[in-house]
Structure formats: C-alpha cells, structure tokens
Symmetry: C2
Subunit: 410 residues, 2 copies
C-alpha cells in the first residue's frame, strides 16, 4: 500500500514525540508499505514566528511571512528524516520546491494547483520514506507560499490524491471524530466511519478535527482519510464516500458553537431591496453571515436577525447602524449570549420528521429556539447560551447516539 | 555603486538590531547604491538547531543537517526583508535555490561552484534590496547545502565576485582588523588597509574577523572587502590587493594562538622514511599538523616535535604512541602549556633582519623559543604559554605598532 501519514503539531512537539512518530512509521514501513509523511511545525512554533513578524509591523509583507513561517515545518521535516535514518530506516526530506507542490501566488492562503509527483515517486522507489513539510508549496516562479491555518491536512490529502495513495492517515491529538464534543457530552461515541458530506458539515459547524478544505479536497478526489491519535494505538474514524451501512442512523453527530453572536435589525421598511441593502453592506465589509431569520411583517415594518462570528460582532453591529441610518428607520441590537446547536446526518434525507423531533425535544426542555437554518443533511438551532450544552446532551440522547443506547441495541 | 553587505549573527540577534541594520541599508540605498544583503542566523540559533540534531544522534545525517540549520538564515532574511518594506524600502528575500547559489554536494561543508546572477540582477533592477541568507546554497539537484562555519562571509564575497560588485562590506561586532588582539595588547591599532595575503596569514593564525575561505575567494576574484562594525559608525579595515602604501611597515600585525599543543617524539631511529611514517599516520587520522621541528640527530636517534590543534591533541598523542610502538624505539610526550606568537607583514619581503629582531627581543625578555616556522610574510614562534601575552606586547612595541608610537611619528 502507498500511505500518506500526516502528523500535527502536538504529535511532533519535541524530540521524544518525533521519535515516537518515527517508530510508528517504521512499523508501517516494515509491513512493506510505501510511506509519505507530512509534518506540521512543532506546536507553538508558527505562532512564535508570526509574533516576531507582527512585532515588526501589524500587517507584515505576506510573501516574507511565508518565507518565515515555512521554516517551522522545514525544521521538523529534517529532524524526522534524521531520526528515521538513525533508526536504520532510509528517509529523505523534500521541501515544497523539491516535492514540487505548486500553488497559486496567494501568499499566506495559497491553493494547490498541482503536484509533480516524479521526484517523490523516484525516492519512494528507492525504498525511502519521504518526509514533506506540510502547509507549504511554491508558486510557478518558485516563491514560497503557505496554505493557511491547518494547511498541513490539505497538503496530506493533496499528496495522497496526486500520488494515488490507498489511504491518507491524519494523526492528531484525538482518536477520531465523535458524535459530540466529549467535553460537553460524556456519552459521546467515536464514529468508525463518516461520509465526506457529514464531515464537511461537522467541520463547518465547529468540529476541529480536520480542516474543511482538506475534506473538500478528499471528497473531490475520493481520498479515504483515516483520523487517528498519535498517542493511542487503534481507534480512528474513516472519512470516506457515502456507503450503505452509514444510513442506519438518522443523525451522525451533534455540534455546538458558542462563537457566534446574533444581531437583530428591528422596524425597517418591509419592501423589496431591504435585505439586499443590509447584507450587501455586510458583504462589502467582508463579514460572513451565518443563520438569517426574517420575521413576518407587521405595519409594513420587518425585523431581520442574523448571526456572525463573535470576532466580527462589533464590526457587524457598526455596519448595521450605518445601514439603518441610511434607511432612516429602524434600530439595531446585539445578543452575545447565544449558542448554535446542530444535528448532522445523511440519514435525514431518508428519515422523515427529524426536524420536528428536534424542535419538540428542545421545547420539552423549555429551550426557546431563536433561529433555525437547515441544509439537506443538517439542522441548526440558535438558542440561549445557557441552554446550549443541555441541548447537545438532549439531542445526542434523543437521536440514539448515547454510548449505552448503542450497547443495548447489540 | 553595487554593494554587497554582510551582517553577522550578533548584528541581527534580535528585532531591534535587525531594525538598525535596515536603517543602515536604507541610508546606503538613498545614496542610489544597489544593495545585496547577506545575513547570518541570529546569534546562537545555529547552535540551538545543531544541539537538537546531536541529541538525536551523535553523527546525524548531513543532508538533513543542512535542511535543518539553513532555516536560521532563512528566518532572518524574511524578517529583514519585511522590516525594510515596513520602512518603505522595497526588498525581497531570495533563498539559496532562488538566488541560484550552486554548490557541490558536500553537505555541511559545500563549496560554491557558480552563482546564476540573473534573478538577483532582475530584482535589483526593479529597485529592490535583495536579501540573501548566507551560509547556504543548493547543489545541482536542488538539495540544500551549507558552507561550513562562518560560511556567510564566503557567500557575501562570492556574490560580490559574481555580480561584479564594487565593494563587499562585512559588518561584524568589531570595527576592523587590529594589529593585535586588543584584549591582550591595549596599544593595538585598527588597520586602515591590509592585503589579502596578510589577512590570510592573520586569519590562519587565529584572527577571527574573517573566514579564511572568504579571503581566498576575495583574493582570487579581486573583491575589495571592507570590515566594519554594525554598532559603531565609521572606521573599518579595507582588505584588498597589495598597494604601495602598505609597505612602509615591516610588520602589519601580531597574532596569538593558545589553542595548540606540542607533541614530541623522542629517540626514534634517524633514517629516511621516519618523518613520512609519523606524519603519514597523522594524516591518515585526519589530523592537521602545524609547526614541525626536527632536532639534530645524536647517536643515530632523532627527536621530532610538532603542534596540532588542542582538540586533536589526545588523538594525535595516541596515533604517535602506536607509530612509535611500530618502530620499536622511542617515546612520546605532550605539552599543553604552549602558545604560538606570530608576526605578519608584506614588509618582511623587503626588510632584512625581521626574524633576528624577533628572536633577540624575545630572548631579551627571557622567553625561550621552542619551535619556529616561517612563510614569506610570517614568522611564528612557539613559546611557553605563560609568556605568550607578554611576547605579543613586546613584539607589537618592537615593530612600531603601538598606538603612541604612531602618534609620535607624525
């Protein structure tokens, strides 16, 4: 098998952990697998380098940022390759320009355009483990680029796709994808399998296991991803194409996001073009809007609520104040005490009544729903923040995800 | 003018110093000079990285060492380029593979074979300051190589030669080349000019201002080097071709080296092939021998003394014991309490009696000379270590180098 393994920052945080990673690689290598390893920078290193850049200038030159921060992964690549050689496993590091990971020229947030696999394949065919720094590439002119936060996941999946790997393993500090955040719901279970679509929704809703772009990439090229812990053996969640045995459950997971705020615009004229006026202003300010609710009109006046990331909250409020002033009517309020609780599952497509079940169980607990948004495989409800964690646990239990319930079904 | 400026590790040790370096560069740039800057890693960084490698393995893979340690200069290149841009001076960093500094494949100790100057020239012609990490290059296959300790000096001189620069400025923590180490001789003076040949001898004898290879390179391509302090304005020593005004003095400088030990082989058969036997054994063990003295033979037995670097002392002693055992006759002793005091000067070629003047003044001070070695422009004497610093001061005064003496001559 040809396997791409990616190790995150906590898995390579010091020389002892790098040695453990090397041992794991050697185990796979001894089973006659071809191995390409993608590494992150040591935990904290990218931030250390960025802090230096930002103490020079609040907006440092982006080309030079990439030259600077790409060294974090370069250091780990060299250390891992020399550790492997010390343990009698032939290995070689290939940096972005050597592995020919070609990107566009959007410094600090580049996209991979292609990978010329010949150099990597020729080293693999010599029996070497190839270690590639994640997160980095080069543009057509040979300038160093980086792929944005979490970009090493994307590097790994892109390499797996371009090399035609049998599997892309992502090693991280959790042992897989859970039905809910175990810190909130102690009955949450690790999923053995999850589809790309569900994983994308979960990632968008705040599950931090995989970078969204890497899942999109994997789905497009049909690269199976196995998410595993680098500290515990076994376990893991396979992220792959939808298969029939996934559809037994209505709901695959429950997610929770308390990093949004709700902004409400009250009493604006209810006429065509109002929504376009308000959301156009937000878009011009580069603010991404999540859930939107427009209330039923009364007296030809409308109320519109929407949520945005907490970091954009104050800015969005200001933009709305200006927009409402331009309309000459209405007022703006902001509510920071909200949480978004979502259920995700391919099963929704074939099971009726999932939404009404969700709404009624929340209602039974006395939890008021402030806004709702849905997609084909997801339903999100905005609730008061103080009820957020309770809502997660109730939904997790209602949709049969609790670990005891599963044991009973056997 | 096209100027190559090189800044050492102490000159770029933190962001404040990098800012000072940027200010200096901008001053030169505003005078319409084209500037290529070569930077070292922050002081201590290369050692920090090497320590990590050596805690993995006492002899880590050399290719990966170069991948690892080249990041030190890469970080400073990016930080300096972004600092320059912040100060409204257009700049770009070009790494070894981008600046096309091509070397052989001798990892950790590579030699520059050529520099393809087009990329650098095109950025200079756009009005940019080009920042190049010193110490690193790439081989013909694109593998990262490094040039050995102090290699950034060589990078700077090689760039100056290949770009046809008017001047190569080496900024360091001292303001030039001195007639003697100011820590030993408080009457030492900074030289305004020194020839390549003298600088080579001084560097070989322990003056640490410039790396020997960089001086050889400069001499071969006739690149004038100006050694300056990055902390003090003005001053500096120009290292250049021999010119007539250099020859007024018999001696240009006095050097002192206490990092050698003397090994004496006593009572070996005085017949052809003995020296070849002994020094062949040292050469096989990769030990470099410095001063050699063979005593007059008595009873067909010879005594041979030589000095080696202190770090090779014990190893050389062991090699000599084995060699003497093979001869079946003789004994070996080691003396660690020695120092080598040397005088250097092109003037020796045209002034008679320099050597006898040196020997007699040492004798007048009661300093016994244990061994002597000479070249066309240098005389070295090995003396007891306790007299070493005294010898430097006496010679400095005798050959008219004391700062007061110079003032009196005016």
């Amino acid at each position: 098998m040809l396997i791409v393994q990616k190790y995150g920052g906590t898995s390579v945080a010091d020389l002892e952990r790098i040695k453990n990673v090397a041992k794991r690689i050697i185990k796979y290598r001894e089973e006659d697998n071809y191995i390409v390893v993608v590494v992150s920078a040591m935990a904290g290193e990218t931030d250390r380098l960025l802090n230096m850049a930002h103490s020079i200038n609040s907006i440092p030159d982006e080309r030079e940022i990439d030259v600077l921060i790409s060294t974090g992964e370069q250091v780990v690549s060299a250390l891992l390759a020399m550790t492997l050689k010390t343990m009698f496993c032939d290995a070689i590091s290939l940096l972005g320009y050597q592995a020919k990971i070609i990107t566009d020229s959007s410094y600090t947030n580049a996209r991979i355009s292609r990978i010329e696999k010949n150099h990597i394949m020729s080293e693999l065919n010599k029996g070497k483990v190839v270690v590639v720094p994640g997160f980095q590439g080069v543009d057509e002119e040979g300038n160093i680029t980086t792929l944005g936060r979490g970009g090493s996941d994307t590097s790994a999946v892109a390499l797996a796709a371009s090399l035609g790997a049998d599997l892309c393993e992502i090693y991280t500090d959790v042992d897989g994808v859970y039905t809910a955040d175990p810190n909130i719901c102690d009955k949450s279970r690790r999923l053995d399998k999850i589809s790309y679509e569900e994983m994308l929704e979960m990632a968008s809703l705040g599950a931090k296991v995989l970078q969204i772009r890497s899942v999109e990439f994997a789905a497009r090229y049909n690269v199976p991803i196995l998410v595993k812990s680098s500290f515990i053996d076994g376990g893991g969640t396979l992220v792959c194409k939808e298969v029939s045995d996934m559809e037994k459950m209505e709901v695959t997971g429950v997610t929770y996001n308390k990093n949004e705020v709700k902004i409400t615009v009250t009493g604006v004229p209810d006429k065509p073009g109002i929504a376009a006026h308000l959301f156009g202003a937000l878009s011009d300010a580069h603010i991404v809007v999540d859930v939107i609710v427009q209330n039923v009109s009364r007296d030809n006046l409308a109320d519109i609520s929407f949520t945005v990331a907490k970091t954009d909250g104050r800015k969005a409020f200001k933009v709305m104040e200006d927009a409402v002033r331009a309309l000459g009517k209405g007022s703006v309020s902001i509510n920071e005490d909200i949480a978004k609780v979502s259920i995700v599952g391919l099963g929704m497509r074939s099971h009726f009544g999932v939404a009404s079940k969700m709404f009624s169980v929340l209602s039974e607990e006395g939890i008021n729903i402030m806004a709702i948004t849905t997609s084909e495989i997801k339903i999100s409800c905005v609730v008061e923040k103080k009820y957020g964690e309770l809502a997660v646990r109730v939904l997790h239990s209602t949709f049969g995800l609790d670990s005891e319930a599963v044991i009973e079904e056997k």
